[in-house]
């Protein structure tokens, strides 16, 4: 049972509270913490520091260098509705648009999704392929940046030190002729958790016919969201087309070590990794080429992909 609850309104106050009580946990939307407690998986912590009233964590904007900066408290619903994100950092919009339910998206935050460090977290893989970094704020004004790819160290575990809070996420401006997409295997269209998911970011060659650069990250196939270098190698330097997309999918599937559980068998998961990687690559290419493909890409049914 929770015996201490604080709701500071400044970042400094929150950091001081967290520093003073090692057992304290920060909570923003509460969509992971409260649900886990209700399901009996993990009791509520004895001490809670609610950070949802801290304006310094709530902002969002585009820096002078074109980077997107999102405060930890930015909600999934806000991300999914923002035109600039849909245009330039589309994989993140794809992911935010399909987190949980409308209620989850209105309440749940980007910072919470990252710090909860679930291997099935929707926003992580898009931020990994978009080269995002997080700013970790610590006691006495400390601040350090680490790549989103390095943040989670295992299920529920992060590289953040005791007393550190995720302050914001920075995503660089995309290169020209680039596009991104996140696709999740969905049994249903709401209240879903990723069985497998894939984010792909690509940059086309100047003539638009080839792939100059590609990044691939996979959701829910390992203890953390992981890059898929073999899939990236299949895409990079090749001619745009389903042959390349399928090769990437096959490479990703071959390198993954999926598990058997109640949601899917390992062999189905492996086959689906190939499907979501190929489709995410195809969707990212469509966007890089300037052809519209609506958010979320998970709802896209490609005419030919098999």
């Amino acid at each position: 049972m929770t015996e201490h609850f604080a709701a500071p309104t400044t970042l400094d106050a929150a950091l001081a509270l967290l520093a003073a009580d090692p057992a304290a946990r920060a909570v923003a939307g509460g969509t992971d913490l409260v649900v886990a407690a209700r399901q009996g998986r993990r009791p509520l912590p004895p001490s809670i520091v609610a950070i949802d009233r801290i304006p310094e964590l709530a902002g969002a904007g585009i820096d002078a260098d074109g980077s997107l900066v999102l405060g930890a408290l930015v909600s999934h619903a806000w991300i999914a509705s923002d035109a600039a994100i849909a245009r330039s950092w589309t994989a993140l919009a794809d992911a935010s648009a399909i987190v949980g339910s409308p209620a989850t998206r209105a309440t749940g935050t980007l910072g919470g999704n990252l710090m909860n460090a679930s291997p099935a977290a929707e926003t992580t893989a898009p931020l990994v392929v978009l080269d995002g970094t997080v700013s970790l704020r610590g006691p006495a004004g400390s601040e350090r940046a680490i790549a989103v790819a390095d943040l989670a160290t295992g299920p529920g575990r992060t590289a953040a030190r005791a007393g550190e809070l995720l302050g914001s996420v920075r995503i660089p401006a995309p290169a020209s002729r680039s596009g991104s997409a996140y696709i999740r295997l969905e049994y249903r269209r709401a209240m879903e958790i990723a069985v497998v998911g894939a984010a792909v970011a690509v940059t086309l060659t100047s003539d638009g016919a080839g792939i100059a650069a590609a990044r691939v990250a996979l959701t829910a196939v390992a203890p953390t969201v992981v890059r898929a270098p073999a899939a990236e190698a299949e895409l990079t330097g090749t001619v745009v087309g389903w042959a390349a997309f399928h090769a990437a999918g096959g490479a990703a599937a071959a390198s993954a070590q999926p598990i058997d559980d109640v949601r899917a068998s390992a062999d189905y998961r492996r086959a689906m990794i190939a499907v979501v990687v190929a489709r995410a690559a195809a969707a990212a290419i469509e966007r890089a080429a300037g052809r519209p493909l609506a958010v979320p890409a998970s709802r896209w049914a490609p005419a030919v992909d098999h």
């Binding site: 049972m1 049994y187 269209r189 209240m191 109640v262 049914a301 005419a303 098999h306």
Partner: protein
């Protein structure tokens, strides 16, 4: 029956609608009680084990713990649903037979103290071999779920033996001989997993003992039945038990029968406080004995070269779980469903209810119907393909028409089966061209109405407003909320002129509860009879007031008046006021239930009342489904539900039933299904991993009502409408998947992985290990 249908406002706003939509409605867990104690059940957590030692002393000594009860604290007697098989006790006596079996119940000052006490109860188990496979369970060498079954009392029409709780057959002619003569015989196996009703409100019970009486607020669909079982199991007279239901947060059959009312009554008696139990979602999945039946259906159908069905044999194995519950009756229904509304000269179908060490099955909405219809309607498409007929032509050739004979020679009334087929097919084909990977599937079926005793009072208050006092139970369908429509028509009043007192066994007369699509059918009849009596009372009063003959009077627009003389009239309010000085305007109704159809069940065994279907509803569902062959995800894009309900009494309510039924059925078809581990424990007892269809997934649903009133139906020739809408959708989706992919999935639910596997490997899923199959003796190795 050519009387006009009662007027319903359009759109009809149900009397409880505003309170529910605005959050004002109080459900059982919302009720506040001074001095309330909190209950928690100790559930077995294992499939099959002997209790070697059970010690509650340490737990009882914990702070805040008020009482801990076990079987030693209640009358030691066995009971069973509808006395079919008296195979269970309130608490485990010596053996636990499924993971949700109640071992002990705690009452404490806080939910946390109750949970702590449950965790502190010391139980030592000796695991027994678990029976987890319905086929292996019937082998002579199988371990037994109930070794003492021969000593159990049971319904005289069945003979429980070994792991077989019951066997029922539907037989006409000589199907074996007819199959041997048939030029073409198609044999198939279909297998369904267990599924759950999943009401949003979990089971909740608060009991408060005062003097020699106990009041029980329970989230039950069947208050009178629950009352009778409390009286039976605790050995107290029924009149000392009052069962009250607050608003019910859904039931879908899962809250039929009797669950925790006696446990809570006993806790309240022991603590002298009101005590409340609210199941957690996980407990809701594993403990109540109401899940849909995991089922194995082996079918053989003989057809002529032209596609005319000649004969059918079938064996249905129903996984009834650890206790028989009402499954013996439902097995007979399953057999009738496998016969279906088809002309089949020779029929031999047997249904065997098999004990296993799983959560007991029971009367979830249209029990056995969706699985059976899914199996037999896929089978019909397979047979049609074998003789080169398209699915529609095959059904046109074989569906019953007016005057045709049913599987026990009942005479069908009306062309509802054919009409719903034609209407559904026309509507689905009008929905435009098919997309890539999209196909159409259809499924036809039938379901019974359930004539039963039911009572209501209707009275007119002194100001002319009305009140219906009914024993009927509103489970959310709106059936009770719509009773004023029936009374208002007879009394020339408006539906909104009536208030309803309901869901209290101390107030209304007996009703069977919200089950069997029976509320409007039976309680509607009761309300109509009472209203008709009141109408006579009003006319008698008016005759005096207007100095006219009763024969010259009519009720119209809230008045009694002389026919043809608009000026000679008196308002019902005036009559009601004058009645306060004399005989009150007070009526009761029940009415004899309509007769079931004549039939010949002389060749059937295990007869429990469903050898023929009374006033059957006919329906055809047509589904457009788009299959993603790479992932196996199948999504319905449109469903047409054409249903012959006899007579639509309340268009808004009937539409709600059809729409909700289709949505529920779509979840059953592709998403739901319980996954079992080899240890006999549910693996997905949560809403994250037991996936219901969400509103974001619901396709366009078109409801079509066909009206062929039944001579022995409910009010105005109506038939039951609550359960039929869930029956045919999965079959239609299955046939669409087969049409889209060229392969048939013979396992329900047709999950993405199963569709993918069928497409990529040809494996139809029927041999996959999961309930109703499993390891023969999972516990033996321990």
């Amino acid at each position: 029956m050519t009387e006009p249908r009662p007027p319903a406002s359009d759109p009809w706003i149900r009397p409880d609608g505003i309170a529910k939509a605005t959050g004002q409605a109080r459900y059982t867990a919302d009720l506040a009680f001074p001095g309330l104690a909190h209950a928690k059940l100790l559930l077995a957590g294992r499939a099959h084990a002997r209790i070697v030692r059970l010690d509650t002393s340490r737990a009882a000594a914990l702070p805040g713990v008020l009482a801990i009860l076990t079987q030693a604290d209640v009358p030691d007697r066995r009971y069973g649903s509808f006395d079919l098989v008296l195979d269970r006790t309130l608490f485990a006596r010596d053996v636990v037979r499924y993971e949700g079996e109640v071992v002990a119940a705690v009452a404490a000052l806080s939910p946390e103290a109750a949970a702590g006490a449950v965790a502190a109860i010391e139980v030592e188990y000796e695991d027994l071999p678990a029976v987890l496979d319905v086929e292996a369970a019937l082998a002579p060498s199988s371990p037994l779920v109930h070794p003492e079954i021969e000593a159990y009392r049971h319904d005289p029409n069945i003979a429980p033996v070994a792991n077989q709780a019951s066997r029922s057959t539907i037989v006409k002619g000589d199907a074996t001989a007819a199959l041997a003569r048939a030029p073409i015989v198609v044999r198939e196996r279909y297998v369904a997993d267990m599924a759950h009703p999943v009401p949003i409100e979990p089971h909740t019970v608060t009991a408060d003992w005062s003097g020699d009486r106990v009041t029980i607020w329970s989230s039950t669909q069947v208050p009178f039945y629950a009352r009778s079982k409390v009286a039976e199991t605790l050995q107290i007279p029924e009149h000392r038990v009052r069962v009250v239901v607050s608003h019910l947060g859904g039931g879908f059959g899962g809250k039929c029968d009797f669950h925790f009312e006696s446990h809570l009554a006993a806790l309240s008696r022991a603590t002298r406080r009101p005590v409340r139990l609210v199941l957690t979602r996980r407990e809701e999945f594993i403990a109540p004995d109401k899940v849909t039946h995991a089922m194995v259906v082996d079918l053989a159908t003989g057809v002529a070269e032209d596609g005319t069905i000649l004969a059918r044999t079938a064996r249905i194995l129903l996984d009834c779980g650890a206790y028989a519950s009402d499954t013996p009756t439902l097995g007979q229904i399953a057999a009738m469903m496998i016969a279906g509304p088809y002309r089949i000269p020779d029929v031999d179908i047997e249904a065997i209810c098999v004990y296993t060490n799983r959560t007991p099955s029971g009367s979830v909405r249209a029990p056995t119907g969706p699985q059976a219809c899914w199996a037999v309607e896929q089978h019909h498409d397979a047979v049609a393909a074998r003789v080169g007929l398209d699915p529609v032509a095959f059904r046109r050739r074989n569906l019953v028409r007016d005057g045709d004979e049913g599987p026990t020679r009942q005479r069908h009334e009306g062309d509802g089966a054919i009409d719903t087929l034609e209407r559904a097919v026309a509507a689905i084909q009008a929905a435009g061209p098919l997309a890539a990977g999209e196909a159409i599937g259809i499924a036809s079926g039938w379901w019974f109405s359930m004539p039963a005793a039911s009572g209501a009072y209707v009275r007119i208050e002194s100001d002319g407003s009305g009140r219906i006092v009914t024993g009927a139970q509103e489970n959310g369908t709106g059936a009770v909320m719509a009773l004023p429509i029936l009374a208002a028509q007879v009394l020339a009043m408006r539906p909104e002129d009536f208030a309803i007192t309901y869901q209290d066994t101390d107030a209304g007369p007996y009703d069977g509860g919200s089950s069997g699509s029976q509320t409007t059918f039976n309680n509607g009849r009761a309300v109509l009879e009472a209203a008709t009596d009141l109408r006579r009372q009003l006319l008698d009063l008016a005759a005096i007031a207007l100095e006219a003959s009763v024969d010259d009077l009519e009720l119209r627009d809230g008045h009694a008046g002389v026919v043809g003389s608009p000026d000679r009239r008196v308002s019902i309010a005036t009559l009601a006021s004058s009645a306060q000085d004399g005989a009150l305007l007070l009526a009761r109704g029940s009415g004899l239930p309509p007769q079931g159809p004549e039939h010949d069940a002389s060749m059937c065994v295990g007869r429990l009342g469903f050898e023929a279907f009374a006033a059957p509803t006919f329906f055809c569902h047509a589904a457009r489904v788009r299959v993603d062959p790479a992932t196996g995800v199948a999504r319905a894009t449109k469903v047409v539900a054409a249903t012959d309900v006899g007579r639509v009494l309340n268009p808004t309510g009937a539409l709600g039933q059809l729409t909700g039924g289709v949505v529920m059925a779509l979840g059953n078809a592709t998403l739901e299904g319980t996954r079992y581990g080899d240890d006999g424990l549910q693996r997905n007892a949560s809403l994250l991993d037991y996936k219901l269809l969400t509103s974001a997934d619901a396709p366009e649903i078109e409801a079509i009502f066909v009206e062929h009133p039944a001579a022995n139906g409910g009010p105005y020739g109506s038939k039951g409408v609550g359960e039929p809408p869930i029956v045919a959708t999965a079959g239609a989706v299955a046939n669409a998947i087969a049409a889209a992919t060229g392969v048939r999935v013979r396992r329900l639910p047709m999950t993405a992985e199963r569709v993918w596997r069928a497409v990529t490997t040809g494996d139809d899923g029927s041999a996959e290990r999961n309930a109703p199959f499993g390891p023969v003796t999972a516990g033996a190795a321990r």
